[in-house]
Symmetry: C2
Subunit: 350 residues, 2 copies
DNA sequence: CTGTTAGCGCTTTCAA
DNA sequence: TTGAAAGCGCTAACAG
């Protein structure tokens, strides 16, 4: 590292335009003939500066090719304009939707998105949270409400807005935006029982929220004296072949099944293909329920029911919750919870 | 802002553990009884510190709940451990794959991912690049090779590793990892001509790289005296319904088509559904070509040919290129180009 | 192996 | 409306 910063290298381009590399506020100030703080103000609070001065600064910025350094700015102001989003994976379409929703909302407000994947593992999330916190983001969006004690403690100490998503809880770290997975299970049970199903199986990925839905399903079924005949657990992320294979095993062990509840539309899709290849008629003989509402199912598969959830909306709401919190700098608002709900909808076939 | 930093607030937890909020290196140093720089070294270069000292520091870190501040670190070291990825959208599965590939590679190396979406618009990309540069990332990954002059200039001046992806060019900003879209067009033409197709249509999203493929296709066809009968351009991002609708219009105008080249598998999928609903037999009467190799096509649609490209691999390679460049701090390596190639593969039906 | 010194580039006081 | 002084939290470069 050079001990003294060298003079700016002035590069004259063919268009006679002057370009500079690595200009700082001080350089801009010198060119504009004002003090550095005036440049800072002109850039961040233009209304506090005389139009004349503003113009001079803007010209100097142009001339020097100045690019703001948010590291320095964030260090002193404690505002990084950065929001972190932690997801288990991107393989699931609903998470991709969420990314887009979050990103769009943040970008519009001048914030940027830092992305991390935990692979459904709490210990990974713990490490990730620590790393992310070291960038002092203005907000953190987590997936789910299951976290290690360390993660929770760190996050609370960080004094940063935190939104837990895709779930509900009575003991949030800060804010929660999602829906109750137990209720999804109950609703699914009611839906299928009402249609006469009695011989249930579960085809699920090893995902904690899916487990909660299955739990809710089993509890609701038990109340009607119905129990689940078999549960097939596939590794995450769920894929179409895994769905086929799981369905094959379930049907082999229990040929008389009349309902299969899947933890994702991808698994459900695989299950439908396997059912078709075995000549099992869906939904007449066997009903299939998915989760996530992928739109492919609208055209190419036999009818199934899926749980419609809007990933983009959850992403948008989470980003908005953080942004709002950031505006009301005065006094901590009470932690907020939004139940986005869900919807059982018929899908598939034409 | 308080002019003097208050003493650390010591919070004693029920477990008699001591927690601190907002500890700095200096606090850790005080607790450990060493100098701040020693703490810094213990954390960043443990091998340069006596095991004994290391242990003391680690204990102090634990006790104070210290979380590194990378804003400060990055400001002085000019290393942010941040890599930016700019994508047009996440709606396309291949871009989701790329995100995962990039993120996995970066995380393993201790880097983090900053994500930005340009929505296929150059001016958005230009703004995004400016914002991103203000965070001084250690590397930037772009989609495509089409950028505004400002973007190119800024990026070159930034003196940061840049990788342009999903395309090839003879005039890269820095590095390129991708394949030639013209060649995809040529290969597609050869494939279809060889199978006897003569009446071509194009069903495409308004995406610049798709346009290059179509261009290549038309050039190759023209050499055999064949011209494209119609081109249907759908808005981005391509969806299944847009594919159906486009196919409907094409078939209506040109019932005798024998080949439809689509710019994505999603559009192709919609096209196949529309063909089926009109009783047009694929591939006997009409051949369909997609792009991207979505795996859904393996099971539920009639045979089509798709151009297989590996998004995750491109993401991984791009991240690796940046990481390698970052290690060889000595002397600029020559700009590097990797042609990842592509593959025409049969898909669909069972 | 450890410490001292000197900033990185910016924004927050406070004063003019 | 503008400026001067101070320092955010950290690490590079030397010494010791």
């Amino acid at each position: 590292m050079e001990s003294k910063r060298p003079d700016l290298r002035i590069l004259t381009t063919p268009t006679a335009q002057v370009q500079v590399s690595g200009a700082t506020l001080v350089d801009v100030a010198r060119v504009a003939g004002v003090s550095p703080i005036t440049v800072s103000r002109a850039l961040n609070h233009p209304h506090l500066v005389r139009p004349n001065t503003l113009a001079k600064v803007q010209a100097a910025v142009q001339e020097t090719g100045y690019v703001k350094n948010m590291l320095a700015g964030g260090l002193v102001s404690s505002r990084t304009k950065l929001v972190a989003l932690m997801l288990p994976t991107i393989s699931n379409q609903i998470f991709a939707d969420m990314i887009q929703g979050t990103s769009d909302t943040l970008t519009e407000a001048g914030y940027q998105l830092l992305l991390g994947f935990s692979g459904y593992e709490e210990w990974r999330e713990e490490i990730l949270v620590e790393t992310i916190l070291s960038r002092r983001p203005d907000g953190i969006i987590l997936t789910g409400t299951l976290h290690t004690d360390n993660t929770r403690r760190r996050l609370k100490l960080a004094n940063t807005p935190v939104v837990e998503t895709w779930d509900m809880t009575t003991t949030p770290i800060d804010m929660v935006i999602g829906f109750s997975h137990e209720e999804v299970g109950h609703a699914t049970a009611a839906h299928l029982l009402q249609r006469g199903c009695r011989r249930f199986a579960i085809l699920t990925a090893s995902d904690p929220r899916a487990a909660r839905r299955n739990q809710g399903l089993q509890v609701a079924l038990a109340k009607q004296g119905v129990s689940v005949l078999a549960t097939h657990v596939a590794p995450v992320p769920g894929t179409l072949p895994l769905g086929r294979e799981g369905m094959a095993q379930l049907l082999q062990a229990h040929p008389a099944l009349d309902a299969v509840v899947c933890s994702s539309d991808t698994l459900a899709h695989g299950a439908l293909i396997e059912a078709a290849s075995r000549g099992v008629r869906v939904p007449e003989q066997l009903k299939v329920v998915g989760f996530g509402d992928l739109n492919f199912s609208s055209h190419t598969v036999p009818p199934l029911t899926t749980v419609r959830v809007d990933g983009a909306r959850i992403g948008t709401l989470a980003a908005q919750a953080i942004l709002e919190r950031l505006e009301h700098t005065a006094g901590q608002q009470p932690a907020r919870a939004i139940n986005t709900g869900f919807e059982l909808v018929p899908r598939g076939s034409s």
